[in-house]
């Protein structure tokens, strides 16, 4: 048994040794993906293109506008002269947010009344729109409280100290600056590993099927498990190398801390890789060409990402969807990655994730092995 596995491994090693391009393909794109995604994947909203229609031209309205220009969230790019003009800018996607200050804005405030501030937002990208509205709300609220304080100060200087207010003190743990890269970079390690391993494994076996070497191997007395181990062990090693590389690159490049125990991450990674290899193997048992394998890989990867909590919070999903996420190994691996990177959590806390990945990995691998037959049917 070990003799045959040894010969399979030796063969795989020789093939990779011969093929410089293959080695490049296995290691460089994941790093590029890492850097690109690390920059591109962010929830935050900066530099929203904004138009301001100031119909009041009072001191108050100018003060309000200056609060938008000063904070980096909004770029005031246009000062249209009419509502129609502003509408045109939104229609043509020139701007995302339009702020309209009505006449009498200043006058109403000075009378101590509520002055409306109209905000029009392009809701096409609902995430950006919601965040932008939230920022506008914060700016308006701060403007109001500053104005109130000033107003009271001027009218009833003696009561000034009596203005009650509750003030939030932010203490975000684990990610003090609430930097969304800290959230994404560990998650990317898992996503990139999943994508590479599923594709590489399924391609490698399907390629042997395509060029005919699989048929020649099948007429030998090799057992399916020997072939599968010979084929997957190299990719397991590759997966470990890749995760290490991508994790180190992410930590150094994006300055995300690694606070946990590398051995805990190694254990989690190993368990996760078993399930990824199993998926690749399963795909290779049903596909005849590399294109089919690519399409099938896509078929698995898309829901695997969506349901993992990589970008969309699982707690916001419908209940049924939440149940399905329990079948997604990436879900557990992301908890392990974020835990080890940001919180420094250990096995005492992460063991349920480890157990879940072990169960899923072994089950998926067993199914793949059972499905893999030495037959061309």
């Amino acid at each position: 048994m070990f003799g045959r596995i040894f010969h399979m491994l030796l063969k795989e090693f020789l093939e990779v040794k011969r093929d410089k391009w293959e080695r490049f393909r296995l290691l460089v794109p994941p790093l590029i993906q890492k850097v690109l995604f690390g920059y591109a994947a962010t929830f935050e909203v900066y530099h929203v293109s904004t138009a301001v229609l100031d119909l009041d031209h009072s001191q108050e309205s100018r003060e309000m506008v200056s609060r938008f220009t000063g904070n980096g969230r909004f770029d005031v790019e246009a000062l249209p002269s009419s509502s129609q003009a502003m509408r045109g800018l939104i229609d043509r996607s020139k701007i995302t947010v339009g702020i309209r200050i009505n006449p009498q804005f200043g006058e109403l405030l000075r009378k101590g009344q509520t002055a409306p501030l109209q905000v029009i937002v392009d809701g096409t990208n609902s995430n950006t729109a919601l965040l932008a509205l939230d920022y506008v709300g914060q700016i308006a609220a701060r403007f109001s409280s500053d104005y109130q304080r000033d107003y009271m100060n001027r009218i009833f200087p003696e009561y000034q100290v009596m203005l009650p207010s509750a003030k939030m003190e932010e203490r975000p743990w684990y990610n003090p600056d609430l930097d969304s890269q800290w959230f994404f970079v560990p998650g990317l390690v898992g996503s990139i590993a999943l994508m590479t391993i599923v594709n590489v494994t399924s391609f490698a076996i399907v390629r042997e099927r395509e060029i005919g070497t699989l048929e020649q191997i099948m007429v030998t007395p090799i057992r399916p498990i020997e072939f599968i181990l010979g084929k997957t062990v190299p990719f397991f090693v590759l997966g470990l190398i890749e995760v290490a590389l991508v994790a180190v690159a992410g930590a150094l490049w994006f300055g995300v801390p690694f606070r946990g125990n590398p051995l805990v991450m190694l254990l989690g990674t190993s368990l996760f890789l078993i399930s990824s290899l199993a998926v690749g193997l399963l795909i290779s048992t049903t596909c005849r060409t590399q294109q089919q394998a690519f399409a099938s890989g896509f078929f698995y990867l898309t829901p695997a990402f969506t349901l993992s909590g990589f970008a969309f919070p699982i707690s916001s999903m419908p209940t049924v969807m939440q149940w399905i996420t329990y079948l997604d190994p990436l879900r557990y691996y992301l908890v392990v990655l974020r835990g080890t990177f940001l919180k420094g959590t250990g096995l005492a806390i992460l063991w349920p994730q480890m157990v879940a990945m072990a169960i899923l990995g072994v089950a998926m691998f067993a199914v793949s092995v059972a499905r893999f037959e030495k037959s061309l049917d």
Partner: protein
Amino acid sequence: MPNDGNISVRVDGLVKRFGSFTAVDRVSFSAYRGEILGFLGPNGAGKSTVIRILCGLLRPSEGSVIVAGVDVGKDPEGVRHHIGYMSQKFSLYNDLEVSENLRFFAGLYGVDRGIAGDRIREAISLAGLQGHEHDLTGTLAGGWKQRLALGCALLHRPEILFLDEPTSGVDPMSRRQFWDLIHGMSGRGVTVFVSTHYMDEAEYCDRLVLMNRGRVVAMGTPPELRHLVKKGALLLAKCEPLGTALQILQGSPGVAEAAVFGNSLHVRVEQAEDALVTLPAMLESRGVKCVSLKPIEASLEDVFVQLAGEQSAVRGGPDR
């Protein structure tokens, strides 16, 4: 006929369906120890499918297949040690060296470490690749590749060898050398199955199974099969233009069959003497120049054309 104790392969009522398509239809035959059994037939006849079933690569839909005493349908793994297989498509690793390929397959066949070295050296000398052990397999010429694949299939000393179109796309010189090797194997008691669509190669086989569209159309030694067309006579006609001549002859009285072979026609007639007189006259009268018309000995290709009827699309052979 050799006795039953010498049967190394017995196929009975073999059917293979792919979905609703029947690729192999009620095929039965036996092969005896040390025999060279040729599978002949046009593209899609089902030759490869039969061979793959015999190797345990495909499961039979119906029928029984006994190879080296093992029921392949029930126990495909049981035959692996007894058989060697060379698939129709070259399927060694092009990116491995010659010796690496041999070591790999010797390893998979579980050839004992002590003798693997000798076996590999023998395979290399069989393929005539001495001095090229460290060449990348992909850089070898066609004939060498095929002989290397044969050497590879023999590493574990199988008693039955399955060769699926081993000489397709190989130059005539290499084909000859390859057939010498096949005869060498058979001389040592190895049963050799070989499929081909080169009709001239069929003459090198001990016995032939002619297949068309999944069915066996005839079976026997080459002389036996040639004898099948002795009813009637075969004429070789050289005409100008060939196409018109073919059309005219196919509908003429007294002509059983006419087919193009290379740049002439093979015409099967009921009565040679009459036809030698009437046919040239008839062709000339319709504007076709008849350069020559003479009786010939039937080749296996003629046998095939006759047996498979107008479905036959056999090309190639000695005249190409």
